[in-house]
Symmetry: C2
Subunit: 432 residues, 2 copies
């Protein structure tokens, strides 16, 4: 177990930052004004080089907690036994796939595996284009769907230097201020986008969205608003791809999959980040009929995708989700957090809105009613100094992003609320 | 240590094959007419469910051998300590990057990390397009460069159901029968492709090739033939991307990188498969000036790319390559294999050509001078039944592909030669 580094042995943060810039280049960015130098993780805790402890309220990848012993053991054992690919027979991938599909609605029948969410979105789109014969995709205006050439082209979040694909149309994110009309508006926007696409001679292939619109500032309510959207997608002859990389594996509470909150059944669902608790495994779950022609005509092989070690990790994650009743815990601690945030909002007019589901929560910060990205940044950095790690997101970077490991408890929620209250006070007084 | 499965507990291969088809879909293919059900690996050996041992002469991913104790230990330790991403400070990624760059020619300064070779090729192309402002790519006629939408579009190997990119031009693979003219011909073909591209209004971005043209049937000779090619690429204003996913990390002998055999220095080099001995890590090494604008304008984040566990694996691989003098072993066992294959060819007119470098060797099988893919298939399957695993490749699937872990020894080479001699005899008699 690594304790703190003795200060003589410890490089200064400045040295590490300069080496990073020299070795990895300018595309690599760090979190926080004063980046954190982490050495160890355990459940919801992270420890820096000084031995200082941080409450992790940001990382969704270690969904069952950092260094979960069951995952560590499964990976270590399989590493020592066999690590190979899917062109040999092996039972574990089949057992895992059966268990995973059992968490999906009836009709889902196949899983295809990749290493990253980007690769999985990219594959889902390859399938959708192959099956529909179309190319056009509709996404929301500040979406993020990955980092391959095609998925970066589906990610307006990355900014104007990264061009959107020529076959990509965008629609405004759903707006809960429309209440019961939220779904009708989104569906109308999707219909208009597909119509405009056809007017340009581009045949529709897919609509792609995550069910909480995470980079659009977190937009989960009112649950059910995706029902009219999926109708509009099917009317256009396109496939509905649910990006479950963020909401999946219980993150949004109550269900394993975010689309279930809306009572819809997509054509494909893309899974990623938390799937292996940090081992690179991701995939596409689908109804067999939507990949029938693709399967017949196109072979698919991903060297590391679903290798025997990744499958061991993913299996251990499912085990823990079941035995530790993770879904119920998400509901309980998510509710506690939401209640605490609402109480805090009553004292702080800078909290303009709180939007969330389960343990994916966005807290919008405003000044005089307008988004205040600067305030969000000061709050995030003050909390980091206070030992709690969160982030900020949304088109104006003013939405605090709270997305802890799913083992987050009521006590952890209280700690976070305390830290947020104090950081808000500090950040607001700095401003004045 | 898993022994053989007791036969009562062991599902039949037919059951596993049927479950695979049902759960993973038709895109998933298996090796061999009678697929192998593997349970354990150790160095160059793989063990099936009956406890039967196979000599692995095919898998390049476990480059320092299956389940190498040093890699297992490094991964297990880091899993239990911390597995997180590149937006926090951590020393190990910097130490690893320095060591990796020290194996490159002067001028290489950055490494950017992904999880898979496909993602790395995809990223290299994003960079090339961003920097040159062009889109056009030249590749060889039976190339394979990946499985994302864009890299599958650079992979004619995948067959006619997978469309090449609109901005992709192909040239014939280098042909050693031209002797000293091989390089001049390739360069002329590349020049013509870039000219035709410009004639269509498409601006050049990159030439992309691996230095042994693995899926074009293995074409390593005469070493140096890429020198005129790189001049032609630069004349066109394009960047030369070396796909080192196959040749890299010492595979082709003598050097860490395949391009060094040709005495060239590419603009970017893409690494993958063997980098983490099976942990999903890959990347792009580059000269900083070719990514200057990209770095300034585009942020890059790959959630699992170069996570602390993958870096631990990759570091252990470099350790073993150095301490076990792997490069020298590749030279020795590669030479032994080549000599043995040449001796075999004198007795077997079905061996039309032997082409290889280090431990990447192609053995072309012919009947009456024409490529014989059926014969190659019978040989590969007969060797599998005899306990030696190889594959077949090339545009006519008639080139036996021998590509073992780099710890392959002279004794292993002899075993393979014996198995090949016997399989050839068997396959030829079947034919008659």
């Amino acid at each position: 177990m690594p304790a703190a580094l003795p200060s003589a042995a410890r490089p200064s943060d400045e040295t590490l930052i300069a080496r990073r810039r020299a070795l990895l280049g300018a595309s690599y960015r760090l979190f926080y004004d004063r980046p954190v130098h982490l050495l160890r993780g355990e459940d919801v805790w992270l420890f820096d080089a000084d031995g200082r402890r941080y409450l992790d309220a940001y990382n969704n990848v270690p969904c069952v907690g950092h260094a979960h012993p069951r995952v560590v053991e499964a990976v270590s054992r399989q590493m020592a036994t066999l690590n190979t690919h899917t062109r040999y027979l092996h039972g574990a991938i089949l057992d895992y796939t059966e268990r995973l599909l059992a968490t999906y609605p009836a009709g889902f029948g196949h899983v295809m595996y990749t290493c990253t969410g980007s690769e999985a979105v990219d594959l889902a789109l390859r399938i959708a284009r192959h099956e529909t014969g179309g190319a056009g995709v509709v996404i929301t205006r500040n979406a993020y769907h990955g980092t391959t050439a095609v998925t970066a082209g589906l990610s307006p979040l990355l900014g104007p230097a990264v061009p959107l694909g020529r076959d990509v149309w965008t629609v405004p994110a759903p707006d809960a201020r429309l209440g019961a009309e939220t779904g009708a508006r989104l569906a109308a926007d999707i219909r208009a986008a597909f119509a405009d696409m056809r007017r340009h001679g581009v045949r529709p292939a897919a609509f792609l969205a995550d069910s909480i619109f995470s980079t659009d500032g977190t937009r989960p309510e009112p649950a059910g608003f995706l029902k009219p959207a999926i109708e509009a997608v099917h009317e256009a002859g396109a496939l509905y791809i649910a990006d479950e990389v963020q909401p999946g594996f219980g993150r949004t509470g109550g269900h394993m999959w975010g689309f279930s909150r809306h009572g819809i059944v997509p054509d494909m669902a893309v899974m990623g980040k938390p799937m292996g608790n940090g081992l690179p495994i991701a995939g596409v779950a689908l109804r067999p009929e939507v990949a029938e022609r693709f399967g017949r005509e196109v072979r698919y092989f991903n060297t590391f995708g679903a290798n025997t070690v990744s499958i061991a990790a993913a299996t251990a994650v499912l085990d823990v989700i079941e035995t530790d009743r993770i879904l119920a815990r998400v509901d309980a601690s998510g509710a506690r957090l939401m209640a605490g945030l609402r109480a805090l909002a009553e004292r702080h007019p800078a909290i303009g809105d709180i939007r969330g589901a389960g343990l994916y929560i966005g807290v919008e910060l405003v000044s005089d009613g307008a988004p205040d990205g600067g305030l969000a940044r000061r709050v995030v950095n003050a909390m980091r100094e206070g030992g709690v790690l969160i982030g900020a997101s949304g088109p104006a970077d003013n939405v605090l992003k709270i997305r802890p490991p799913l083992t987050f408890s009521a006590a952890h929620a209280d700690l976070l609320l305390e830290s947020l209250a104090s950081a808000l006070g500090e950040a607001l007084s700095e401003e004045g």
